[in-house]
Assembly symmetry: C2
């Protein structure tokens, strides 16, 4: 089992971020992590919006978020503790991420 890869800040791409955030499940995961004040495990997201997700699928989604540079996952015993890399990302991409999250939020409210 290969170690979890986290790209360094300067290898993170806009393309990768947009792709990662163009999926509703991943957006949900990311926004929950962004809102949370402490790290969350993967399995907390096995039921996203009432839709049961296979854990292999969920694992893939986390991998995509991680390798896009959006989140950081640390092994803590048997589980992974996931948190966002928002602070770093803000340094590199300015207001982009905030603007995206805000747009998603507004969209959710209006529907």
């Amino acid at each position: 089992m290969r170690p979890l890869y986290h790209p360094p800040l300067d290898e993170i791409t806009v393309q990768g971020i947009l792709y990662a955030l163009s999926d509703p499940v991943r957006v949900r995961i990311f926004t929950q992590l962004a809102r949370a004040d402490c790290a969350k495990t993967c399995s907390e997201f096995l039921h996203v919006r009432k839709k049961p997700l296979a854990k292999s699928t969920l694992s893939q989604h986390f991998k995509i978020l991680r390798e896009a540079g959006l989140i950081r996952s640390e092994r803590m015993g048997v589980e992974l503790h996931n948190s966002t890399r928002c602070a770093e990302l803000k340094k590199r991409f300015g207001p982009m991420l905030d603007a995206i999250l805000r747009a998603y939020e507004l969209e959710a409210r209006s529907s």
Copy 2:
């Protein structure tokens, strides 16, 4: 041949926009359109960054941009005149699009 579909402003989604802009060819097309002061035809993009594109592929890319609500395509004789819907989009999504384009621009400069 079915008429070109342009979603009304309130049916445009963040997800659709991010997905459309997570492909380098489409980003190139969109940014060129955004910079241009007049509409551009599809075939002007047959060579994007020295890579020859099949016109069927290009057509698909335009369709994705169009149906994501990012561009508007009008038949003018035998060709299509494409332009962005930036003004409308700004009303609905605020600074998101600008922030994305700016991030892509900075990324391009630094590489």
